[in-house]
Symmetry: C3
Subunit: 149 residues, 3 copies
């Protein structure tokens, strides 16, 4: 179990507006504020988005399967932020609901805001981390400076 | 993209008990502790609640559609707190599950606790915010003091 | 409404790897870091897990019903940490998604990681709490030092 220890730094309340791409905007915000490590909590709605909702089978490397959602879905989500190969890297999971349907998965590519998404971005200071491609699993994994054996 | 910058203030661990209305109680708690801005994370269960689960169509202004849930549903949720027109205003989203069913949406009106809801209320200090009715969208939106162009 | 007031202490970024038991590992981490009270946010996936997804009926004491999930499910979750009878006690809720299916409930027993689970563990200091068996409800409840009448 790899880990790193730090403290909470700055906290940002953010509003992403109707028609904007939540993923692009929150990544742009994190870069603009020069946040190295942290987390994001968010709620709101999207007009359309792509959610990776688990593999066909639990094999390595994964063969991700995506669901496209459209027409106004409510979101509840959480993301981690660590330095990636090219600037900050976010890993974003969300539950999404419309009527009696609900999905849970990894938000990817584009998520067009419906009405508003409210996000809270919390910076961590003192964390030593990088998110890097991992050969064993075929996905990007955070690499931390400490190990609990 | 509007935003505001602050720091974390006080943290409260809160327990809302069986039969109480989670929404009324958490709003009462936030007001009693004089919390202006912050966020809430919660888990637990409800006997019954109302979830707004997306619009019929993604139009502006929205025509919200609600699902009533009853009989014991597990919750996982997140809320933002900003000063509203009449005291603190909470925007609460939750995933709710019962058996193989799951919903995700905006918790409204009343949510009667089953057994317990455990909440963590985190205050933000230094945030400049108000939640106000927005004419363009027809919903209440947080208004912050800074803009990232 | 019972509650306690504290501040945020240390923050830990944690990575739990493929094949490990998320519940066992996160409990082991919290104990190893000597965290008394706090919260955990996590995202990732599991090969298989058990989710308690609400009672058959909303009676006291509850007769929990569990769903077994397997084959690679995406997770989004939150947990509270308080001192239990035997070391730290975690109450973990999660939304879980695979394809168009989604569940929300209480993660119990064992949750075998698929690829990775990323967790953020936030310590609270100054909180006075214990999680103890509660006779009235038949479940374990956090007991705090203050009451808002």
């Amino acid at each position: 179990m790899q880990y790193s220890e730090g403290q909470v730094g700055r906290v940002f309340s953010v509003r992403i507006d109707d028609g904007e791409d939540f993923i692009r905007e929150i990544e742009r915000f994190v870069a603009a504020m020069n946040i190295q490590s942290g987390m994001v909590h968010f709620l709101g709605a999207v007009r359309n988005a792509t959610l990776v909702t688990g593999p066909k089978d639990a094999v390595i490397p994964p063969a991700p399967r995506a669901e496209e959602i459209f027409g106004g879905w409510e979101l509840l989500g959480f993301a981690t932020i660590y330095p990636g190969v090219e600037g900050p890297s976010l890993h974003i999971h969300s539950a999404a609901g419309k009527g009696i349907r609900s999905l849970t998965g990894c938000l990817r590519e584009k998520a067009e805001v419906y009405l508003v998404i409210e996000a809270v971005v919390m910076e961590f200071v003192g964390i030593s981390a990088r998110r890097l491609p991992d050969e064993a699993t075929g996905v990007n994994l955070p690499v931390f400076d400490r190990v609990l054996p």
